[in-house]
Symmetry: C2
Subunit: 365 residues, 2 copies
């Protein structure tokens, strides 16, 4: 990895922070057809055909021209659908792009990012890339969040906090009154990552009118079944949107995804139907996993979090993988491990549960 | 822009570097059909139909699943097409994404980015966002680059240099022997931005075998007529690609663009035909603009750079805009202004030149 410099010393030119970091590793992505994927919370159903019609229309019109840098047509449609002013909306190349833009807009090198644990591991990588520090606060046993999450940092200036709600891997939700309390107590803005909010009973959009310290991130990857499209959006006070426009790449969203995203959020019938199916599969998963001896918190997302103390769960993950079912084995330092299982079709869910039953019997022996 | 903090002092939470910067402003993007766009170096022809067929195929297959995080299918195709090992290839959401990733991989806060002037204004914004400093070195009058471009910085540690080749706005090229010399003299890696190289007589790919200090960026926006798709790629030593994989967003390229990009680079017949047409229009532009009294350097890109001392050129830009033709008026501090005009179809080019002739006569009066 090192090369000889002309003076004889070895240099590799890469920033020390990047050399030192391990890098975020996304969930396994086997080739199509090689496995049933219940490991990355993708949606098992095909997106609305209106989305694909919009994509074909853009292909007919052509892609020679640059897209609208701020995707105003989407912002207008989202303002209508979500009842949020257009100036409060920013679009991204997936919500990962938005989380990156947020980190780069608010946190300088050496400053602090606050995040709960266990939650989305990527947040820590974002801080590392920025040369910032991250401070994790563990959830309580009942998946509530202690007040220490809101305290100033002793290690530096706390500049941003991330809170996935519903959380991953737990699928649990903090009530919005509690989210508002956290935002008001924090000495910095709070990013509520609502990647899974469409599967929950409520969301935090109404809080935007009460405080400009809350920023809400959304994605089309989960509840719109468009993980392959890369499109996300966020709601924030206009002053923050304006700052983030300076940080984002000029043309961060392509013409196909902008048109597809508009069609997606406007097809509320598709989404209602899809939501019902996912919630039904989630219920089956939660109930059966509890019968099989797992501890499973109530989930408001499109997945469930499954732990147990009487036997290791990694062999169960491995057994499933051998039999063509991928779930996510997660092991959090100083906390523990478990299996995160996405809601699939009824057939996938049922087959996965049968395999888990067999694996539990094998492992218990 | 400021809000009251609970203690009574005003804070806005945004990083001071972001508050201070102006933000990169991309070229004007009128709605389709509202103007002939010769201002952002887009390609006036429709991309290969094989590209659109690939997009429709992905739409048929669906977008529920995440894309391949590193777009290996494209890397394999690009390795074949360009004769560069697969491990040397990194894909991005447009080459802007790659320029951002490069900046974040190599330059820490307070360090130095070197760039020539006049060139792509975005480079400076990238340094600003990173909290880094940029140092510009002016091209010589003949568009060669002085050796001071390679010198260590007195203001901090020089960590990366950007060199567009062909350059924008000039369209001029440094011979690859000179690029190699610059790379070897620099105390840091050199990013050769080859956005326009497909319109040039040569490129720097063969230099990759001679030094790992050269990194080459490519885009599908110009020579593949896919600005609306957002896809770029770069060639670098594997150690740099590995570091950049840690910095990029996990799924920075979507499934549609990966499939489209493979089809694009494989259709060499389309590109050869397109290249001939663009170069023909460029010749017409260069010759006629010289006849009309402009100074026009020989261009190896899909645009020309037009200056003159005997009259202001901004009124010409404004006259063209009033008549439905957008060209790019550029004004560089401490250097001067000019018109950058993209090669259009024969009809667009001819009509634009007629309008310029009229504008020159009006302005000369």
């Amino acid at each position: 990895m090192l090369q000889k410099h002309s003076e004889g010393k070895t240099v590799n030119y890469i920033r020390p922070e990047i050399n030192a970091m391990r890098g975020y590793v996304p969930g396994e992505q086997p080739k199509a057809g090689e496995a049933v994927k219940l490991n990355t919370n993708e949606n098992p159903y095909r997106a609305s055909e209106k989305v694909y019609a919009a994509i074909r229309k853009v292909a007919d019109e052509g892609l020679s021209r640059y897209p609208d840098p701020i995707a105003d047509s989407f912002r207008k449609a989202a303002a209508q659908r979500y009842g949020v002013p257009q100036g409060c909306i920013l679009c991204g190349n997936g919500s990962d792009d938005l989380l990156t833009i947020l980190t780069r807009t608010f946190i300088s090198s050496g400053e602090i990012l606050r995040l709960p644990c266990p939650s989305y591991i990527l947040y820590q990588s974002l801080a590392e890339i920025q040369g910032a520090k991250s401070e994790t606060v563990f959830f309580n046993n009942d998946w509530s969040l202690p007040n220490s999450f809101c305290a100033a940092s002793s290690a530096g200036t706390l500049k941003l906090a991330f809170l996935p709600n519903p959380n991953s891997p737990s699928g649990t939700v903090l009530p919005k009154e509690r989210v508002l309390q956290i935002a008001e107590q924090l000495p910095c803005p709070l990013v509520v990552d609502e990647a899974y909010a469409d599967f929950a009973e409520d969301n935090c959009i109404s809080l935007l009118e009460q405080t400009d310290k809350i920023i809400i991130c959304r994605t089309l990857s989960k509840s719109f079944s468009l993980a392959g499209l890369r499109f996300g959006f966020l709601f924030a006070a206009p002053k923050y949107v304006e700052a983030m426009l300076k940080v984002k790449d000029s043309y961060n969203c392509d013409s196909l995804s902008i048109a597809a995203a508009i069609a997606a959020i406007q097809d509320t019938d598709w989404q209602q139907d899809n939501r019902s199916k996912i919630i039904a599969a989630r219920s089956v998963l939660v109930n059966r996993m509890r019968e099989l001896g797992f501890t499973v918190p109530d989930s408001q997302a499109n997945f469930t979090w499954n732990t147990r103390n009487d036997m290791p769960v990694k062999p169960i993950y491995e057994y499933l993988k051998q039999h063509g079912y991928l779930v996510r084995y997660m092991n959090y330092a100083d906390w523990g491990d478990g299996l995160r299982i996405s809601a699939g079709t009824p057939e996938q869910t049922s087959e996965c549960l049968s395999l888990i039953e067999k694996a539990v019997l094998r492992t218990a022996r």
